[in-house]
Structures are given as structure tokens and as C-alpha cells.
Amino acid sequence: MEAVLAVTIGILFAAAIYMLLRRSIVKLVIGLILLSNAANLLIFVTAGLERGAPPLVPRGMAAPAWAVADPLPQALVLTAIVISFGVLSFAVVLVRRAWELVRTDDLDHLQDTDR
Amino acid sequence: MIELLEASLLLTGTAFMLVAALGVIRLPDLLTRMHATTKAATLGITLIMLGVALHFGQATVVARALGVVIFVMLTAPVAAHVIGRAGYFVGTRLWSGTLKDELRPHYDPLTHRLHSGLEEDEEGGRRPRGDG
């Protein structure tokens, strides 16, 4: 399944990049959201998959009696999800403000700061 | 016996869910589609959760399954109401086979006021009537 998901993640990345390369700011944001989702999933999958064994210690036991899914990447992905959520909320609002000030959705009109 | 019951619950639930999905594809307009999603899906969830409760047979699981059902039943109609209302008011087209619409005449798109049609009751005593 890892291999299948690897391909899926590749598609997610491709989609994200394609959206990032559009001229519309809104599409840019959608690209960013896709991108961070893809990255989070990548960590999860690359660390290895386990079916039906959440990393929870049963009541009354000191450790799971069977092999459980690796909790560490899960914690990492959780942190990464939260972080990207914060960052993306910011980005989304930024785009809104930028549009309000510049009144264009076309990134090609946003060149003043480089020239 | 229990296993059979569980299996049939799960399968029926699944079937209702599928019907909902099918309905969403097939039904002709927004409001009719919403009938499918709100009801069939709620019923599907209820049945599946009953199956789940039956499968584990523990009080905690029953409680959880019940929780799921209650929560879905609490939220699904609200969501349906909100989106259905919004969709209706911004002018989503109704299916051509729609018989009547008693709402439209009572809605003022400028002020967004929704009258009951009973306001004149005090004076004239007309019942609300609409003709789609």
C-alpha cells in the first residue's frame, strides 16, 4: 500500500505545484494547502504503515502486547498539521488583504516590490 | 444469530448510505438531493452504529455509537436547513416537476424579509396560499 500511496502523494504534489504556478492568488493559496497536506501525508507514509493497531496502550497494561503503529511520526504529522494550519490561515488572510489593497487576482500585477 | 443481525444491520446501513449517494447523483435539484443526504445518510449511520454497538457489545461502545447517532441527528437537520435555505434564497433553480412554491411570494429579495402571509390575518383573515 505504501507504494500506491507514494504515487498518490506524487499526484498531490504535482497538483499542488501546478496550482502554485497559476497567476491567480486564490489558486496560489489552494496550491499551498495541497502542498502542506501532501507533505504531511508523505511523512506519515514514509515512516511505514500499520493496519488496525493504533498506538494506544490497553487499560491495565504497561505496553501494547502487539506491534502497534509507530507513534512518533504520528506525533510529528500532528505537529506539522497544526503548524501548517496556522501558517495557511495566515496565508489565506494575507491573500484577502492583498486583494483588498491591490484589487487584482493576477500575480503578474504584483511586481512593484521587485522593480 | 447476533452476527447475522450485525451483518444485516451493517449491510442495510451501507445500502442506505449508497442510496443517499445515488440520490445525490440522480435527483434533479438541490432540495430533493438534500432529502436524500439528510435522511438516508442519517438512517444509514444509525444502522451502522447499531451494528457496531452490537458487535462490541460493551456499554462504552454502545454509548459511543449512541453518541454518534445523536450527534448526527442533531447536526444533520441543522446543516440541511442552513444550506437548503441559503441555496433556496440565492435562487437555485427548482426541478421542473415541482408542484408549488408557497414561499417565493412571501419573500422580499430587497429587504430579505420573509413574511408569514398571516400578517393580514388581523385585518382580513386570509390563509397563506402559494401557487408555485
Partner: protein
């Protein structure tokens, strides 16, 4: 001595305050410092006369082999004396020249700093220390040349001088580093004794070239000479000081200093002689082309510098001796002449020789001074200039061989210089009185004392050149050309040198008499050459660089976010892809079981993502994103990550809420790019996706080390007191991550709040 130099810098910094206290007496007070240094130097001469050298050890950055050690030997003494002594005169002169000028304090400060830098330069024993002072002279001279800073020409000339000398300085730095590597030491004294090793080193040629570039730029050798005449926009004291005894001589000093270590190879001889020869001819010819006094003097300085370089290149003992004498003579007469030019400038308001005449009646003392100094410049007896020229011709004749080319060149140059001297000394003063822009009255003594003293020195030492016997002998010994004591005499008698001098005299007189027409001819003939000369190379180079800079910046920083992205992505693809191809071998498909519904979920994920890309409606894209997020959550459920699934669901839901709130105000999707662009982007995107997949497969299919999480699984409950291992990791094992994470959230919220409400507040006011 280090203390004296450092004190000089401190004094320089304090000059503005000093000026507030001492007012017009400030220059005189400041002159006390160089005067004291001269005294100190004179006091130590006896030590050097015995053949010794004074080492003043001082550490700086020992780990980098950088010391502030000063070494006083003959050469250093000679230069230090010139710098300090002429410094005194220039300071005194400045007091008169810039009297009441609002920028006088700053000028004095920089002049002092410059003086101290020069002193440091000639005294430093360490290559890096020398370089430090070298660059400081470039810098301070930049400030001096740009003294009239509101004048664009002054700024431009200052910039040109700085770029040329600092650019050369960088070459010099390379040369020094290589030299230190080749010679195994950063000490000049030690390097002087390791000439053999250095000349045999594989780095010799590069280091020589680098050092020569440094020296040539500083000493205004062809093809770097042009900055010097342009620098004449500086106030006259600056010109007098920088171009007679100090700044431009730094290159000569350096060549002399490194003579023991580097000379003796054909590369050295050829390089110096060739460049020196070209420069001296060029200086002489160009001088005649001018009508501006200072410019004529400037080009004659170029000529003199070329001469000294030529002599250093020849490198025989006689040549070195001639070089030293020439150096002294030049310092005296050129200092005097520049200062005279300054007087004329102040008194008449012009520097154009063709506009002056008959001034001897109004400025008799100035005229006398000019005449004496010009005699020395012309190389006529009984001046030191004559002694120097005799020595010069003597050395050239003695060298023999192909030296005859040099002989012809030098004779030619001597003749032209003589006519320059005549023009400078005769035209303004003799003949009928012309009306200059301003009518001069008597010269203030503060202005006259400097040039008069220098002119007098030219005469005195010309009559009695023996005064320098000991100095030259000792210095020559320091340059590795020791031998019996040298005797300088005012008159050599008739011989080859005198004949050449006479030839030069004839030529000079002839040119002087027909100067107007010669000049006109020269202007015509040289115009196309000048138009293609080094100065044009320099400006073209600068312009081209600027053009290149414009071009590359327009290409790279073009304001299009997507080209930035494509560039970065292509870089990433190129680097990582290359590494994967070159450094990583085969890929193996990580085989593991899958189930049908898992495949469907994966497909839904991809479909959601692709839908988000393809739909025409913004909100449909958001909804598609939502479905993708839910599919991801489902994946987390399927593969045993309930916490992640919950988090993903909630985050996805709230993201959708947020987007719906925000997108409301934003415009609809429009198709802005051309099909070609879309295909290109699709290509880039596909490549990125493919590479990511490949990377994942490579990691998944290769050798993998066990995770450290076994510890957390085993100890999460016993030590972390929690059954949810993910949560135990989040709040205990890796709580620091979580701490950072909540700060990210908080920051994002503050940022969003500020972004949105800052405006609201403004709107409230406006």
C-alpha cells in the same frame, strides 16, 4: 611609534572638537604631531646609519599571523621622513589655503588620518598590516579627492580613484596571501631574506602579477594612470601631498620594499621596465596636451612615477640609487609646484596657463619659488633634479643591452618635461601681464612658506647632494644592493649622461617655443587614442558591468512569482534528481499488500486534489479540498492513527470555514495563462510529483534503520503515565515541539488579527 600613529588617528577623530577650541590655529597645532615624528625619526637615524633596523614589536591578531609590528629601516625612514615633513608643510599651507572654510575641521581630520595611514604603510612589517594601511590611504584619499562633494565631478573623480586603487588593492591582497604562502611568512623582513624560495615557487608568477597590479594602480602606472589627473579636482594641498610624496609613491615604496624578495627575474624586469617606460612617455606627452596647471603637473607626476618604476625594473644598484634620488627630487619640486599652483589658483581664480602672464610683478616670491622648483623639474643644474637625472641616465647607460630603448624614451621624456617645466614656471610669470579672473595681491606667508622651503631644499640638496650619501647607501643596503658608500655630486662632468641631458634640453626648448602649435597638434593626434584609452576601457567596463547587472536582475528578480517558483523547483529537481541518478543506484518496488477500499480511498484523495485544480469555481475547489482532506483523514483511520484522523478532520473543517469566510471577498477564478504556459507548468508539476514518488519509493524500498520510538512505546505508560502514546509524545517526550507549535498558532492569529484590524482602525479614523 605605533602609539604615535594610533594617536594620530585619535587626534584626527578629535579634530572637529579641537577646531572648536583652537579655531584657526588648529592646523598649526596638528602639525606638531608630524613635526614630532620627524624629530623622532631624525633622532633614530644614527641607529640606522650603523646598518641596523629598529623593530617595534606589537601583536594584533596572532592567530592569523597579523602583527602591528613596525620596522624602521632606511627605506622606511626615507619615506616616513618625507611623509611627516611634507605633512607639516601641507598642514601649515592648508591653514592658509582653506582659512575660514566651513569644512576645514573635517578636511584636517581626514588629512591627518591619511598621513597616519601613509606612515603606517611605510612602517609596517606585516603584510596584512601594510595592506590595512594601504586600503586606508585609498579610503582617506577618496574622502580628500571628494572634498568638494556637492560637485558631481568631484564625486565622480573620487569614486574613480577609489575603485581603481581599491580594485588594485584586492589584487594586492591576493598577491600578499600568495606571497605569504610562497615565502612562508607574513613578515616583510623575513620575506626579504627568502627571495630564492619565493622566486622558485610555483606561485611566483601569479603573485607577482597580482602585486604589480596593486602597485601599479596605486602609482598610476599605465593603464591605470587616468585616475590621477582626474583626482586634481581635489583642493591643492591634497594634490600636493598625495601626488608628490605620499599616496602615489606608495606603489613605488611597495615595489622597492619587495625588491629583495621578488626582483631579479625576467618577469619582474620586463614587467616593470615595460610598464614604467610606457607610463613615463605617456605622462610626458599628455602633460603637454594640457593647459591646466594642475593637470600638467599631474601628468608630469605620472611621468615621474613611470621613471621610478622603470628604474626599479632595471634593478641594478645604480638604478636603485637613481630611483631614490629621483624620488627625493620629485617630492621636493613637485610638492613645491603643486603648492604654487594652489597659490595661483587662490590668487587669480584660474589654473589655465594660457590665461596667465606677467604675474612676477604681482607675486614676486611665488614666481621665484616656482622658478627654482621648475629648474629642478627641468633637471637643470644646480638643482637636485639635475643630480637625479644624471643618475638616471647613468644607470640606464650602465645597464646597456636593450636598455637603449629606455634611453631614447627617457631622453625624449626628459625633453618634454623640461618644456613642461618651462611652461609652468615661465608663462604665468613672465611676459606681459594678462588679466586673470581675479587680481592677486601679496601672497600670505602661510601659503608661501611650504613651497618656498621645498624649493629651497631642491636647490640646497642640488648644490650639496652629498647630504643624501649616507641615506641612499643605507637604504640601498636595505634593498639588498649593499656595496661601498655612494657619493652624490652636483656635477658629474662631461659624459654620456650630460650628452643625453643636453639632447633633452634642446628638445625641450624647441617644444617650449612652439608649444601652442605642438599642443594643438597633440590634441588632434591623441584625441582618437584618448577616446580609446584606458579611461574609456574603465568606464566601458563599468558601464558594461552595470548593463550586465541590469540584465541579470531583470531576468532573475523579474517580479513574477511563478518564475521564482519554477526556478527554485527546477533547481530542486536538478540537484535532487541528479543526486538520485548519480549517487543512488537501482530502485526496488516496495511490495506490500493492499485492499480494495484502500485503493479507492487513495484514488479519492488524488481525485480530490485534481478536482481542486481543474474546477472553474473557487468554492468548488475548496469543497474538493475538503473531500481530499476527509480522504486523508480516512487514510489515517485505516492506518491506525486516530489522533491524526481527528486532527485532520477538524483542521480540514475549520480550513473550509476560514476559506469560505475569506474567499467571499475575492474575485472569481479566471484563466490568465496561455495554453503553452499551462503545459510548461504541467510539465514542471509532473516532474516534481514523479521525483517525490521516486524518493519515497527509494526510501521505502531500501535499507531502513529501526525507529527510536520503541523506547516511547515501551515507556510511554510506565514513565509518561499515559495510554495514548501519541499524546504522551506530544506533551512529554517531545513537548518542546508542541510548545513551538502553539506559538506558531498564536503568532498566526496575532498576524491575522493585526492584518485585518489595523486597517479597520485606520478606517475608523479616516
Amino acid at each position: 611609534m605605533q602609539l604615535a600613529v594610533l594617536a594620530g588617528f585619535v587626534v584626527a577623530g578629535l579634530t572637529p572638537w579641537l577646531h572648536r577650541v583652537a579655531g584657526a590655529r588648529t592646523p598649526l597645532l596638528l602639525a606638531l604631531l608630524p613635526a614630532a615624528i620627524v624629530g623622532w625619526l631624525l633622532q633614530h637615524w644614527s641607529l640606522l646609519a650603523g646598518g641596523g633596523a629598529l623593530m617595534l614589536e606589537q601583536a594584533w591578531v596572532p592567530a592569523l599571523d597579523i602583527t602591528l609590528t613596525f620596522r624602521l629601516d632606511g627605506l622606511a625612514w626615507l619615506f616616513a621622513c618625507l611623509i611627516a615633513a611634507i605633512g607639516v608643510l601641507v598642514l601649515v599651507y592648508t591653514g592658509g589655503y582653506l582659512r575660514g572654510h566651513p569644512d576645514l575641521p573635517r578636511f584636517l581630520a581626514v588629512l591627518m588620518a591619511f598621513m597616519m595611514s601613509m606612515l603606517g604603510l611605510v612602517l609596517a612589517d606585516n603584510l596584512v598590516a601594510l595592506f590595512v594601511f594601504w586600503e586606508l590611504t585609498s579610503l582617506t584619499s577618496y574622502l580628500l579627492i571628494g572634498f568638494r562633494h556637492t560637485d558631481p565631478l568631484a564625486r565622480q573623480a573620487a569614486l574613480q580613484g577609489l575603485l581603481v586603487t581599491a580594485g588594485g588593492g584586492l589584487a594586492l591582497l591576493v598577491g600578499f596571501v600568495l606571497l605569504a604562502e610562497a615565502g612562508g611568512s607574513w613578515s616583510l623582513a623575513e620575506l626579504a631574506s627568502r627571495g630564492e624560495a619565493i622566486r622558485g615557487h610555483v606561485l611566483y608568477l601569479p603573485l607577482l602579477v597580482a602585486i604589480l597590479i596593486g602597485a601599479f594602480t596605486k602609482s598610476a602606472q599605465f593603464p591605470f594612470h587616468f585616475w590621477l589627473p582626474n583626482a586634481m579636482v581635489a583642493p591643492t594641498p591634497v594634490s600636493a601631498y598625495l601626488h608628490s610624496a605620499t599616496m602615489v609613491k606608495a606603489g613605488i615604496y611597495l615595489l622597492a620594499r619587495l625588491h629583495p624578495a621578488l626582483s631579479g627575474t625576467s618577469a619582474w624586469t620586463l614587467g616593470l621596465a615595460l610598464i614604467g617606460g610606457v607610463t613615463l612617455l605617456l605622462g610626458a606627452v599628455m602633460a603637454l596636451r594640457q593647459t591646466n596647471l594642475k593637470l600638467m603637473l599631474a601628468y608630469s607626476t605620472v611621468m615621474a612615477l613611470g621613471t621610478m618604476t622603470l628604474l626599479l625594473g632595471i634593478g641594478t644598484r645604480a638604478a636603485l640609487a637613481a630611483c631614490l634620488v629621483f624620488l627625493l627630487a620629485h617630492a621636493f619640486y613637485k610638492g613645491a609646484l603643486f603648492l604654487v599652483a594652489g597659490i595661483l589658483d587662490v590668487m587669480t581664480g584660474t589654473l589655465d596657463v594660457t590665461a596667465m602672464g606677467g604675474l612676477r610683478r604681482l607675486l614676486p616670491w611665488t614666481a621665484l619659488t616656482a622658478a627654482v622648483a621648475a629648474l629642478s623639474l627641468a633637471g637643470l643644474p644646480p638643482m637636485l633634479g639635475f643630480v637625479a637625472k644624471e643618475a638616471l641616465f647613468g644607470a640606464l647607460l650602465e645597464a646597456g643591452g636593450t636598455g637603449w630603448v629606455a634611453v631614447v624614451a627617457v631622453t625624449l621624456a626628459a625633453g618634454l618635461t623640461l618644456s613642461v617645466a618651462a611652461i609652468v614656471a615661465i608663462r604665468p610669470f613672465l611676459g606681459p601681464l594678462r588679466d586673470p579672473p581675479r587680481r592677486p595681491r601679496g601672497t600670505p606667508p602661510a601659503l608661501l612658506v611650504g613651497p618656498a622651503l621645498l624649493a629651497a631644499l631642491s636647490l640646497l640638496t642640488g648644490v650639496a647632494p652629498g647630504l643624501f650619501d649616507e641615506l641612499v647607501t643605507v637604504t640601498l643596503a636595505g634593498l639588498g644592493a649593499s656595496g661601498e658608500a655612494l657619493h652624490l655630486v652636483p656635477w658629474h662632468g662631461v659624459g654620456g649622461p650630460l650628452a643625453l641631458s643636453l639632447a633633452g634640453l634642446v628638445l625641450g626648448v624647441a617644444v617650449f617655443l612652439r608649444w601652442e602649435s605642438v599642443r594643438a597638434r597633440l590634441v588632434d593626434v591623441l584625441a582618437p587614442l584618448v577616446a580609446r584609452g584606458p579611461e574609456v576601457w574603465h568606464s566601458t567596463l563599468g558601464w558594461r558591468t552595470l548593463q550586465l547587472a541590469h540584465w541579470q536582475t531583470r531576468i532573475l528578480q523579474n517580479g513574477h512569482l511563478r518564475t521564482y517558483l519554477v526556478t527554485i523547483l527546477m533547481a530542486w529537481l536538478g540537484l535532487v534528481g541528479h543526486a538520485l541518478l548519480v549517487r543512488h543506484g537501482s530502485l526496488s518496488w516496495p511490495g506490500s499488500a493492499w485492499q480494495a477500499h484502500e485503493l479507492v480511498v487513495a484514488a479519492l484523495m488524488a481525485a480530490g486534489a485534481l478536482t481542486a485544480c481543474m474546477v472553474r469555481s473557487r468554492l468548488a475547489a475548496v469543497a474538493a479540498l475538503g473531500s481530499m482532506g476527509f480522504s486523508i483523514a480516512l487514510t489515517f483511520v485505516l492506518f491506525s492513527a486516530p489522533d491524526l484522523a481527528i486532527t485532520q478532520l477538524l483542521v480540514e473543517t475549520l480550513t473550509v470555514v476560514l476559506l469560505a469566510l475569506v474567499l467571499f471577498r475575492l474575485p472569481h477564478f479566471t484563466v490568465l495563462s496561455t495554453p503553452l504556459q499551462r503545459w510548461r507548468d504541467l510539465g514542471v508539476a509532473a516532474l516534481v510529483g514523479a521525483l517525490i514518488t521516486t524518493l519515497m519509493l527509494a526510501v521505502l524500498g531500501g535499507e531502513r534503520l529501526p525507529s527510536v520510538s520503541h523506547y516511547m512505546v515501551a515507556n510511554g505508560q510506565p514513565l509518561g503515565h499515559g495510554h495514548n502514546l501519541v499524546n504522551v509524545i506530544l506533551v512529554d517526550f517531545r513537548a518542546l515541539d508542541t510548545l513551538g507549535e502553539v506559538f506558531v498558532l498564536a503568532l498566526a492569529a496575532v498576524g491575522v488579527y493585526a492584518m485585518l484590524c489595523f486597517r479597520a482602525e485606520e478606517a475608523g479614523h479616516g
